[in-house]
Amino acid sequence: MKSGEGEPSVGQVMVFRSKDFLKWADGVMEGILKKSPIGGGIDFLTKDFFNWATRNSIYPLHFGIMCCALEMAVASAPRFDAQRFGVIYRSTPRQCDVLLVTGPVTKKFQPGVRRLYDQMPGPKWVIAMGECAISGGPFYDSYSVVPGVDQFIPVDIYIPGCPARPEALIDGFIKLQKLIKDNKRGLLTGK
């Protein structure tokens, strides 16, 4: 046990640490941008531009579970070429804004998927690809499969198929782009 865990020691009181700086900066930004009309004004000006950028650069997580993962790979390969729509796979959840669930989520892996979802920065969307992710699919009565990924994370787009074809995946991405366009929101005020 370190001393002074309950009450701050003298050193801790006197030092202005980076954590404190972040707290101060957050407070200032909150006050100036989010609460006051300045933020609303900036949002009004930049909303359309940011929304256009967001919907045309969808970065899904490179994360394959089962059959649909192969179709996900094929969709980015030459024949279907999902990169035409700005879909580029990233390897770490910190750089992504779409979580593609491509197969059944087992009870052993359920906390892992939840953690991946929590690690992604907002705004974020979830696509459930294939029957297994939607409802458990052929494994609906298994003892170790969660019947549907929407039981523990919110899902925006459902793509049916077992496995879903690459065309269906591209269609799903286009539907997601429409969804993003329809729910236009400012980055600062969230309106």
């Binding site: 997580l61 490179h62 994360f63 394959g64 579970i65 089962m66 059959c67 993962a69 192969l70 179709e71 790979a73 094929v74 390969a77 030459p78 024949r79 390897s91 959840p93 197969g103 059944p104 087992t106 052993k108 892996f109 892992g112 991946l116 052929p138 494994f139 009565d141 298994s142 003892y143 170790s144 499969v145 077992c162 496995p163 074809r165």
Partner: protein, 353 residues
């Protein structure tokens, strides 16, 4: 590393202990995709299991449904029409090429040859199209039936298959130039992940990794099933036992597969392609063994006279091969993990079942 890691190609976890950069201990952790298929099979009828068997391995689903049908035919004592056998063999070999190309695409992308990914995925579509014409689906075919296949070959199947084989053989030479000409690819492959012959045999490693260790054991040759004895091909083996040997074995296997497809579609006799199978399985046991693209696939079925199997046990090649990961990894650097584990062609769907 894992379960979500660009190296893994599926859900599994590799725990490695390092001393500086050198690996001193490794322990793979499986089970993130365990769906309990063996238990599900006990609640399905014999016919309903074929689509489940398809979903065992997403890379080569046709081999697994074929293996399941072989096993149940062994249990029921059915004799499959010869035309069906030839259709099956042609389809399996197309599946083998597609599976190896999928592996090559992933492997190339892992080892920094992204052009390899683009080329192999492009050429995989040729065989996927053929299988789609045959069965109507892109990935999980549900094509073999107990006692034959679902339907006859489409028109012009022979012409298209021969064309695809000629195209593929030309492309394989191109790949050899692409990969072996790449210094990075060769440096990351040669002399890495050596698994000695005796160790490989003892650890139960099968398939291309075993043949790359110098054991020339191919079930298609050594314990032939279907119509393989009537076809002329070779089992490939290499003595080097490193990652490059595994790559080479798979490339040569694709060439052999082209040869087999060519013979199978030309020799295909006329006649029936399916016989009626009984609804209830008899009391007894049946086994089936095939050479999966990843190793020795095997099923053991126990029937009790009802329409549902009493017990179905599935032997997954990757499940056993991965247990040898420790022996392959220890002594190499952390950067070699991608090459060594990628060279095994992991398919978690069948390993976890």
């Amino acid at each position: 590393m894992g379960p979500q890691h660009p190296m893994t190609h599926g859900l599994w976890n590799l725990r490695i202990k390092v001393d500086g950069e050198t690996i001193v201990d490794a322990e793979p952790e499986m089970g993130y995709l365990h769906r309990g298929i063996e238990k599900l099979c006990e609640n399905r009828t014999y016919t309903q299991i074929i689509p489940l068997a398809d979903r065992l391995c997403y890379g080569s689903s046709l081999t697994w449904s074929h293996l399941y049908c072989l096993t149940v035919e062994d249990l029921m004592g059915l004799e499959v029409p010869e035309r069906a056998e030839y259709i099956r063999v042609a389809a399996i070999e197309m599946q083998r090429i597609a599976s190896h190309l999928m592996w090559l695409a992933a492997y190339a992308a892992d080892l920094g040859t992204l052009a390899g990914f683009i080329y192999t995925m492009r050429d995989r579509e040729v065989f996927i199209d053929l299988l789609q014409a045959l069965s109507g689906s892109r990935l999980t075919y549900n094509f073999p039936r107990i006692g034959g296949v679902a339907h006859d070959v489409p028109p012009n199947f022979e012409r298209d298959s021969l064309r695809a084989c000629t195209y593929m053989e030309k492309k394989l030479d191109e790949y050899d130039q692409l990969f072996e000409g790449s210094k990075v690819f060769m440096m990351r492959n040669e002399g890495v992940g050596i698994l000695k012959k005796e160790l490989a045999m003892n650890l139960g490693v099968t398939g291309p990794p075993l043949r790359a260790s110098g054991v020339n054991y191919d079930l298609r040759k050594d314990q032939p099933y279907s119509v393989y004895p009537e076809l002329d091909f070779q089992a490939i083996s290499m003595p080097d036992a490193d990652c490059y040997a595994r790559y080479k074995v798979r490339m040569d296997e694709m060439r052999e597969s082209c040869k087999i497809i060519r013979q199978a579609v030309q020799k295909m006799p006329k006649g029936k392609w399916r016989i009626v199978a009984p609804r209830n399985g008899p009391v007894g046991t049946g086994i089936g063994r095939v050479e999966d693209p990843r190793g020795e696939g095997m099923m053991y079925v126990v029937g009790n006279g009802t329409p549902k199997p009493y017990r179905l046990k599935i032997r997954s090649p990757i499940f056993v091969t991965v247990s040898a990961a420790k022996q392959m990894l220890v002594g190499y650097k952390v950067a070699d993990v991608v090459a060594i584990m990628g060279g095994l062609d992991m398919c978690i769907g069948e390993a976890d079942r």
